[in-house]
Subunit: 131 residues, 2 copies
């Protein structure tokens, strides 16, 4: 089966994160993309996303590994929703699987760019206080 | 704090599901919207989505209740990603919470419409066979 172009973009991003090739990594994001750094903390726009990934690389002692352990893509028009089992590890991080969610948007030249990057998935939701 | 228009749309959808007012419910979906009926099974387009909700209403003996127990909305341009703790119950369904994911798109007249409705969230992802 032919691979979805979004899957190829994510693979490119994962390789760029591991290699710390931030120019290549930022190519995959839309100008006004949003990255969830941790629950309750987001950054918006390429400059901020680059700084966040530089800080993440340093925090994980320049040894972060990323791979996807299963993925589903739901597409409607120029929007694609990705659910991925994203596996992270580093010298100071035991292998950890996150139920990540990514949203991509196909731009006018046909390229799929990441507009929302939430590796924490539903982990960002607090339960209603009144419930 | 002012409520996000997407949150208001979801509340309207929940009320319409409970009341089985399918015209109102379908107003919230884009023409080419995708609904996950169950993992591995989707339906695309308003006619199919209406049929699915009619079947769901019958399956749950016309007693389905829906509410959101916490929600986070991440927005980039005209796209909004919603993570919601969606609570379902019915005469034949004990209260069940799903980590739901919805994607909305703001159309040219400023209305936010649901383009992807995945109440199963990351539950639709199978692990890689080789992992």
């Amino acid at each position: 089966m032919e691979r979805h172009p979004v899957e190829i973009q994510i693979e490119k991003a994962d390789r760029a994160i591991v290699a710390e090739e931030f120019d290549t990594l930022l190519d995959i994001y839309a100008e006004d993309a949003v990255l969830v750094i941790e629950p309750g903390r987001i950054v918006r726009g390429k400059a901020g996303i680059r700084k966040a990934f530089e800080a993440i690389a340093a925090y994980f002692r320049h040894g972060l590994q990323v791979r996807q352990n299963g993925m589903e893509i739901l597409e409607s028009g120029d929007i694609a929703l990705v659910h991925a089992n994203t596996v992270l590890s580093a010298p100071n991080l035991p292998e950890t699987e996150r139920k990540a969610v990514y949203v991509f948007n196909r731009n006018s030249d046909g390229t799929w760019l990441c507009v929302i990057d939430n590796s924490y998935g539903s982990g960002i939701v607090a339960e209603s206080s009144g419930a």
